[in-house]
Symmetry: C2
Subunit: 278 residues, 2 copies
């Protein structure tokens, strides 16, 4: 089963949303109001061109912008912005260099101001829930979109710089600046696991959520809930909570651990590249 890197990236997007249960996420059994399974399918279809650009060695910022534009061509709003932020450098690294923590880490470090401009332009296509930036970054609030580009240019802010500034709060940015440690670790665990891939994706998601609080939950519903979600994922791993029941409850309460889903998707991609059979 040889599949090109861009196709594996797209398949990872699909396998991620099909991973069931992933408490709080859209999965095979659950939708959020206005954000449904079918929006993720259309988002994955739309992302293909940007992933293809990454595989052909395009600049990370350009490929990301194109992927997000394509992803946004559905009615559900933001489905896979965070997944694509992780997938684009991983796909590029797999296709034009090698797929290792060191190689993708170097690729991220080498990003330029042009890459951060692409990243900011991507916010023009879709509403992404974000925190207020730290005070010294106020001019570079991502919600300014392309309007921030003159400031980026003036200050010489690369995409790596942008990620570094958010790494403490944002789990995806942290993967970016640290060489994707959780992604590569979970990929190996997915490969060692057995059974249907959608079950493995569910287990990877639960391990990741039990390991660290989800930044998207903290941002959207607050610190207290983020702590609770983290603890209850640990209770699932300990066998004290049923993940299906938890999934029902979280969806009902509007709790969506999006960052954890993003890392799960990235790990599925690495696992596919390393021979995960579907």
């Amino acid at each position: 089963m040889t599949r090109e890197a861009a196709a594996n990236g797209q398949l990872a997007l699909l396998l991620e949303v099909a991973g069931t249960p992933k408490p709080g996420n859209v999965d095979r059994h659950r939708d959020h109001a206005g954000l449904r399974f079918e929006h993720f399918l259309a988002g994955a279809i739309g992302a293909r061109k940007g992933l293809g650009m990454a595989a052909r060695g395009a600049a990370v910022g350009d490929a990301f912008e194109r992927a997000v534009y394509g992803m946004s061509q559905q009615e559900g709003g933001n489905t896979q912005f965070g997944c694509l932020l992780l997938l684009v450098p991983l796909v590029r690294s797999a296709a034009v260099a090698e797929l290792s923590s060191q190689a993708v880490g170097a690729l991220c470090e080498e990003t330029t101001v042009a890459d951060s401009a692409g990243f900011y332009r991507a916010f023009e296509y879709v509403d992404v829930a974000v925190d207020d930036p730290p005070e010294e970054m106020a001019d570079l609030d991502v919600r300014r979109g392309a309007d921030a580009i003159p400031t980026l240019t003036e200050r010489g802010v690369t995409l790596y710089d942008v990620m570094e500034a958010s790494a403490e709060r944002d789990g995806n940015a942290r993967e970016w600046v640290e060489g994707f440690p959780r992604t590569f670790r979970e990929a190996e665990l997915i490969l060692k696991d057995d059974g249907p891939v959608s079950d493995r994706a569910s287990r990877a998601f639960l391990r990741l959520l039990a390991e660290r609080e989800d930044g998207f939950v903290r941002m959207t519903v607050g610190q207290e809930v983020a702590t609770e979600v983290h603890e209850r994922a640990n209770a699932v791993l300990a066998g004290d909570e049923n993940p299906e029941t938890l999934a029902e409850e979280f969806v009902e309460r509007g709790i969506n651990p999006g960052t954890t889903a993003d890392v799960t998707c990235a790990a599925l991609f690495v696992a596919l590249q390393r021979g995960l059979s579907v």
Copy 2:
């Protein structure tokens, strides 16, 4: 939301399997043993190159062979052979001519011996459940794969001829030779319907199954069951059966109305091309 024809073809494959409930098919809530939701996702990813060839005007047989080869790169076996048989001429017609019953019907009529050779080669990649051919077609049993090509060539059998010979027994072949009447009719009903696309796909599937016995069910589990399935789909439309319960029962009994799913997929493609919003 502009999406190219090949992307809409791929999205139709995904929306079809996500349509739930589709009694007897793999859907969001149900898998068959060894044939799971994730295999359909990987099949749709793999089909992209062949659908892209069709959109660029490649010969129907070549595009179909490439689509089936890509689709077959997953562990579930035959996921979408029948869907692709319908999608390839539809995608080609949409991209290079127009998407109408007349245009796609003409395209099918104009297929050549080279197209039937591509169709026969496609059987080399995946095990497809088929009936024994009529006696006069024994040399052209599709299970012979590429070995049948000398006979095809000698007798000048086009792909249209192959479909015509099977049209009485096989619902997909009948769509091919009649200008896709059920496909175009259901596309309009899907467009007029409302709510999530996965619900519309489920309703389209049930209407199609209630309209006509499924040839794949007849072939795999016999005439009696095919009649029962058809009658019970009518009972669902009349409100006398619960489609979710029926879906559980059919999957348990190994009843999989595959031809009806194929036409549902083709109708979703036409609806997407005509503006169905996801």
